[in-house]
């Protein structure tokens, strides 16, 4: 049980180290209390020697370090008080360098250095420079990191920043920046080197240990961002380039990811906007394993939020051509990282699209551009099979719908259908449902035949079987749900202008006819009723304008309806077709088109005779025929007689006697209609009744 032993051992060593510190601290305090500098130096050096261990993991070393840190704080107060120990700070600075081992020596030096700077007997920059260079002597990663961290901590309030008391002749912000940058660079080097040190360890453990220390390195960037004197100029010319240089050159994926993230988090968004090119230029140079998309997404998110924070900021985005730069950068990254899986590329585009939608929502060309880039990427790859990738594509396509609440906008994006083309049949259907739901949710109306055409192309996965897939494979419930959605959609297609409306109907017809027998029973009825509504609208308008070629007339629409309902014979769906024929008959009656109405009745009867076999269905169907016929007023005597005779005949032939009675009784109304003249033929009724009823 090696690991358990290891942990136990570490606890033991830590305990030993702490004991050592406490032991020496006791004597240190005694020395300080008696103002004995010599003794104080001796015991503090011994105390600090505990930090020379290489047996502790970062987590444990930190505990040890904190104890030492506390003692050094007290020691610093002692050092500051020259009257107590009688040594000038200059001398003290020299004296501590006599400590035997390098690590304690440097801790003490830094502590004295702090006092030195405070005393102002030497320029801050000189002391800082000296210290940061001297720390080079410690090359062990963990020890070096904590030492430099200590240096960073005590120097923090002593940097020659603008307005600070340490600013003076020759002491400028640049000196402060140089100091921090150098410390940062050295710390990063040490941090990266950690993975090569010591016995071979399990990678995960190593990464974990390294992660624990990352904030020590990152802190320097934070300090840089806090320096008042670091304005955009200095950031752009000095800070960013040097930080990026270190990030790229260290060639370590853990460091690169963390530091890029850090830069983005720590420095203000306006800076990022103004240095976008430089910042983005670093990305293709990073190690392939770095999860760039997360970092880039972070950046784009921050910039999106920044844009949303105030309207005044927006022109800046345009001025620096933020979108173009981001777009290019993403392109370069995808190009450079050949190994990147498709899902990575797509999620980058999703982030970019989100950015475009939030920052430049009026620029549909940007949105289309992103889609276009995506199409290019998808074209170069094999058909999407990866679940995650498909989810990302769906997210990409859904984003504009949610942003614009208006299907029209999505329909104008030229690349939208091309992206959908790359989805497999299953996902195409999912996306199609999303489209339909979006239309239903926002109650939008698709108002031209052209748009309807584009829309139905987009949802073609629902409309017909796309190559390779069989409708049979689908769960019946799901299939019904899909087709019912398409049916509902038909009612959202509308235009006030009858000509355009007719065009819309023709377009829908064109598409649904390819749907096959399974789909027609769902898609035909809404189309039929849509057409009937148009007929009614035309009825309301004045009669045909003489001499003009008007395509939209009730007669033409009835022709179309006949053909549409005819298609149901392939399913076959006789009962539904019968009902629809009767609806058309009534509508034709209202338009006074006797032959057309008669023809529809004939069709209905044919279906009744030849296709409706179930007795219950027959009862309902004959009642519908009778009920409809009863309302007809466009028929001349002959036509009406023929149809009435037929209806009565069939009524008497129903299977069950009670049904026969009821149906024939219903037929009686065909001979006697209260609100019409001429149809009160009691005699004829009696004749027919008797004829059928013996």
């Amino acid at each position: 049980m090696m690991i358990a032993d290891g942990i136990e051992d570490e606890e033991k060593w830590l305990a030993e180290g702490i004991a050592g510190i406490q032991h020496n601290a006791f004597y240190l305090h005694r020395a300080v209390d008696s103002n004995n500098l010599r003794e104080a130096l001796k015991y503090s050096a011994q105390l600090l020697s505990e930090l020379r261990t290489s047996r502790l993991s970062p987590h444990k070393y930190y505990e040890l370090y904190m104890r030492a840190f506390d003692e050094l704080r007290r020691l610093e107060m002692f050092f500051k008080d020259e009257e107590r120990h009688g040594c000038s700070v200059l001398d003290l600075y020299e004296l501590v360098q006599h400590a035997g081992n390098v690590l304690p020596r440097l801790y003490l030096l830094c502590t004295v250095g702090s006092v030195y700077i405070k005393s102002k007997e030497a320029p801050a920059k000189d002391v800082l420079k000296d210290l940061v260079e001297m720390c080079r002597s410690v090359q062990h990663p963990i020890r070096g990191l904590f030492l430099r961290s200590y240096l960073a901590q005590i120097s923090r309030d002593k940097l020659p920043d603008i307005g600070s008391e340490y600013e003076g002749d020759g002491d400028t912000v640049m000196d402060a920046v140089d100091f921090v940058l150098q410390n940062f660079t050295e710390m990063n080097k040490l941090w990266v080197r950690m993975q090569h040190q010591g016995p071979i360890r399990v990678k995960e453990k190593l990464d974990k240990e390294r992660s624990e220390l990352r904030d020590l390195v990152g802190k320097n960037l934070h300090v840089l961002s806090q320096i008042e004197g670091v304005d955009l100029e200095i950031y752009k010319d000095t800070v960013l380039p040097r930080v990026l240089e270190q990030v790229v050159n260290c060639k370590d994926e853990l460091a690169q990811h963390y530091l890029m993230d850090c830069i983005i988090q720590v420095f203000p968004d306006e800076y990022h906007l103004q240095t976008l090119e430089t910042l983005l230029g670093a990305f293709p140079q990073l190690q392939p394993a770095v999860d760039i998309k997360t970092v880039l997404s972070q950046l784009m998110d921050r910039l999106s939020n920044y844009a949303a924070s105030s309207a005044e900021v927006l022109p800046e985005f345009l001025q620096v051509e933020a979108f173009a730069k981001l777009s290019n950068a993403i392109g370069k990254v995808i190009e450079a990282q050949v190994e990147m899986p498709v899902v990575g590329a797509i999620s980058l585009y999703v982030s970019l699209l989100t950015f475009a939608l939030r920052v430049h929502s009026d620029r549909l060309d940007y949105v289309d551009q992103v889609l276009g880039a995506c199409v290019k990427k998808l074209s170069g790859s094999p058909k999407l099979e990866d679940n995650k990738a498909t989810k990302q594509v769906v997210a990409l396509l859904t984003a504009p719908l949610e942003k614009y609440n208006d299907i029209d906008t999505a329909l104008t994006l030229s690349n939208y259908p091309h992206v959908m083309d790359h989805l497999d049949a299953g996902t195409n259907k999912i996306m199609a449902m999303v489209l339909i739901q979006s239309i239903m949710k926002y109650n939008t109306c698709v108002s031209t035949a052209e748009k309807v055409d584009v829309l139905f192309e987009l949802i073609k996965g629902l409309i017909k079987d796309i190559d390779g897939t069989l409708a049979d494979e689908l769960d019946e419930e799901d299939f019904k749900e899909e087709q019912n959605s398409v049916a509902r959609l038909v009612h959202m297609l509308y235009n006030d202008d009858p000509e355009e409306m007719l065009q819309i109907i023709c377009t829908v017809r064109k598409h649904i006819m390819a749907g096959g027998p399974k789909r027609l029973p769902f898609t035909v009825p809404p189309l039929v009723f849509s057409a009937l509504k148009l007929v009614r609208r035309l009825q309301g308008l004045d009669g045909e304008v003489a001499g003009e070629e008007v395509p939209a007339t009730p007669r033409k629409i009835f022709q179309l309806l006949n053909q549409i309902i005819e298609a149901l014979s392939n399913v076959p769906s006789p009962e539904l077709a019968l009902r629809l024929y009767l609806q058309c008959a009534e509508a034709a009656n209202d338009c006074d088109l006797e032959p057309v109405a008669y023809e529809f009745f004939t069709q209905a009867f044919v279906l009744y005779e030849e296709e409706v076999a179930d007795s219950k269905a027959q009862v309902t169907s004959i009642h519908l025929i009778i009920g409809t016929l009863q309302r007809m007023n466009a028929f001349g005597v002959e036509n009406r007689d023929t149809l009435t005779h037929k209806a009565t005949g069939y009524s008497a032939k129903l299977l069950k006697k009670p049904d026969q009675c009821r149906a024939v009784y219903a037929c009686s109304h065909l001979f006697w209609v209260d609100d019409q003249d001429g149809i009160k033929d009691g005699e004829r009724f009696k004749l027919i009744f008797r004829h059928n009823w013996t």
């Binding site: 239903m440 009642h623 519908l624 009863q630 309302r631």
Partner: protein, 191 residues
Amino acid sequence: MVLVLALGDLHIPHRAPDLPAKFKSMLVPGKIQHIICTGNLCIKEVHDYLKTICPDLHITRGEYDEETRYPETKTLTIGQFKLGICHGHQVIPWGDLDSLAMLQRQLDVDILVTGHTHQFTAYKHEAGVVINPGSATGAYSSITYDVNPSFVLMDIDGLRVVVYVYELIDGEVKVDKIDFKKTTASANSAH
């Protein structure tokens, strides 16, 4: 007081995409004790939706309903009232009061609820009351032009029923009400 929702002829998805949003926001689950539906929903999704508003759903078959097993007619008793439901395409001439009255006597009910014409009506005659809640979606009808979406809410209280009709006219919901009183309580023994 017992609230009964009466509606029908939605014709979803053949003739309408959905119930009007204003109606949907009014039909909150838990407020209604019974639903009476004249038929022509037409699909299961609508059935399920109605069930969420109230689980006690009584429905008869319309000629376009997907579910063929709904009954042609149905009767039920609520409080002092006997109610009857029938879609109405079976009663010819369609919408004829005399013929409907015949059906009412046949079913022996105080209140007959039918549909098919997509036209709200509420008639009182000696045998009782005939109510047509119209079309809840304002669906196209060969019988009625310019259909406004409508439904009926009956408040049954003792021997009195108040019929509220909700109609969507030009985007606004208008309410009207009619009072009916029964003259005698329902007898337990046969005549």
